[in-house]
């Protein structure tokens, strides 16, 4: 009964919050552009058909590859940062609780700080601090992803069942051996599968780096929107959907095989 009551309370809170957000909107100002409906109609008409000239398809293919390349590069950096940070944050690598706990708290705080800032905010800050280059863009993507991956790695390493570890300890394994032959093999499939899921998210994030001038699908979409060429926008959107869905299907398949 208490569950039902608290869920009713939650429903009430959610509806009240939504009503509050509606009241926070300035409804008196113009909501739709003059000519907004016509633009919407033109945008939908541009899908039939989208831009399909060979030259533009070639450009779309190149942009898709660029977006893919930036996401892969960012994910590799993120994993390389997240593994040691995750180990520290889980506290399992420490020799004793006295040294491990402060290190774990500090690592978790650092991971939380870098993932609370959105990758595009990182990118804008990096562009102003260091200038625009592939390295700064990849770093901007990799930081929040390292924050998320490191935290998940730490949780997964902490959450493995205790019994096999106890059995290893009882048979005389050192803490390092317990980690290498007990904890790591048990957590590894989940760690790998979550990393693959994040790879899919990284493609979307790499696309929006076009906003700071990094080449790829997002950059081309911005250029086409700027010239109000909606048929080109559709071609690029379809390419982005294909890329994300392909990686989604791939990562779903890998996850199903690893975690079962």
């Amino acid at each position: 009964m208490r569950v039902l009551e608290s869920r009713r309370l939650l429903t009430l809170i959610l509806f009240a919050a939504f009503a509050w957000s509606l009241s926070g909107v300035d409804w008196l100002g113009p909501m739709v552009h003059t000519g907004g409906p016509q633009s919407l109609l033109r945008f939908i008409q541009a899908l039939f058909p989208p831009e399909l000239s060979p030259a533009f398809l070639k450009l779309t293919l190149a942009a898709s590859f660029q977006t893919l390349a930036y996401s892969v590069a960012a994910i590799t950096v993120a994993v390389l940062v997240a593994v040691p940070m995750g180990l520290l944050a889980s506290g399992v690598a420490a020799r004793s609780a006295r040294t491990g706990l402060p290190a774990a708290v500090a690592a978790r705080f650092l991971l939380g700080a870098i993932r609370s800032v959105h990758e595009l905010v990182w990118a804008v800050l990096f562009v102003y601090a260091l200038g625009l280059s592939s390295a700064t863009a990849i770093l901007a993507l990799a930081l929040p992803y390292a924050g998320i991956l490191g935290r998940i790695y730490a949780d997964l390493l902490n959450d493995v069942p205790e019994e096999p570890l106890r059995a290893l300890r009882a048979s005389g394994a050192s803490p390092f051996q317990v980690f290498l032959f007990g904890r790591l093999p048990m957590a590894f499939p989940d760690m790998l599968s979550y990393s693959f899921y994040r790879f899919e998210c990284a493609i979307r994030s790499a696309a929006i780096l076009g906003f700071v001038g990094i080449p790829g699908l997002g950059y081309q979409i911005q250029l086409s929107l700027h010239d109000i060429l909606f048929d080109q926008v559709w071609t690029l959107l379809v390419a982005l959907v294909f890329l994300v869905v392909a990686v989604d299907l791939w990562s779903t398949r890998v996850r199903r095989d690893l975690v079962s």
Binding site: V3, S21, L125, R204
Partner: protein
């Protein structure tokens, strides 16, 4: 489920998936080599610059500018009037995030059940029908398209139709998150225990009754939990969407940094972190209500 465990040659079945995961690893490593090859070979990689002493002093100067140490003016984050002025923007940003998650919930709630394979196949409700299967593919395609396009790109498109402000930002956020929540919730329905729905059907319940009493009570807690989780993601993204939709803190962030008002940038980042932490805490508290303790 075919065959009886112990009689089938389980070794064969176990080897194939491991093979796929392993080949995926090799495939991914090839992608890594190709990607880094492209970045070093064909772009201005800037890795050398990143390690040079100049960049370190540049970023040091940038940090000092953010902290207000490079100018004699009182930094924006040390002035109460600037905090009050930007409080209105932080309020708008919070409104945008709640509006976005509300629109997401309203749009996803009536549709996610039809994106579940076991509903369209008739396993959880009614007889299988061609229209049910067509609906399943239409709903799943909508989820895939809305999800694949990032919030920022939705916002860039939407500002062609809607006037800048909180609403286009919220709509852009809601479109992307509709696909995310829809897909996740449909998968929850696909993994449901079919027992209650079957028992209802056996006792003569209609399709709507099976949906209301056999499916939704099991799926709704996860639906709400996902919504609250996504709220945490949305509050981080409102700033980014505000860059183009011109609502809340995002617009001010973009303006301040283009005008080199660095201490204002620091003030906005401070507000942003306050919002992120506050929403994380609120979401965690509300999620506790879902489980009832």
């Amino acid at each position: 489920m075919t065959g009886v465990p112990g009689i089938t040659r389980s070794g064969q079945a176990a080897r194939r998936p491991v093979g796929f995961a392993r080949w995926s690893m090799y495939g991914f490593l090839a992608l890594v080599v190709l990607s880094w090859g492209y970045i070093f070979g064909w772009t201005d990689s800037g890795v050398g610059d990143l390690l040079s002493a100049d960049s370190w002093s540049d970023s040091g100067r940038f940090l000092r500018q953010l902290a207000g140490q490079e100018s004699d003016a009182v930094p924006a984050f040390a002035r109460a009037d600037r905090w009050l002025e930007t409080a209105k923007l932080a309020y708008d940003t919070l409104v945008m995030s709640v509006l976005a998650i509300g629109l997401t919930g309203l749009a996803a709630f009536p549709t996610f059940v039809f994106g579940a394979r076991n509903v369209s196949s008739g396993e959880l409700g009614g007889a299988p029908s061609k229209s049910g299967v067509a609906l399943f593919y239409a709903v799943r395609l909508t989820f895939a398209v809305t999800r694949a396009v990032p919030e920022l790109v939705w916002a860039m498109i939407i500002v062609f139709f809607l006037s800048p402000g909180v609403v286009p930002g919220a709509v852009a956020l809601a479109l992307h998150n509709y696909g995310v929540i829809g897909k996740l919730s449909s998968e929850v329905v696909e993994n449901l225990d079919p027992g209650p729905a079957r028992a209802l059907r056996a006792s003569g319940a209609g399709n709507l009754q099976m949906l209301l009493y056999g499916v939704l009570p099991q799926a709704l807690p996860s639906f709400l939990t996902y919504l609250l989780y996504r709220w945490e993601v949305i509050i981080r993204t409102t700033v980014v969407v505000g860059f183009v939709a011109a609502g809340g803190l995002g617009r001010e962030f973009r303006l301040s940094i283009s005008l080199f008002h660095y201490t204002d940038v620091a003030l906005i980042i401070a507000w942003y972190l306050i919002l992120v932490v506050a929403v994380d805490l609120a979401s965690a508290g509300l999620r506790r209500l879902v489980s009832g303790d």
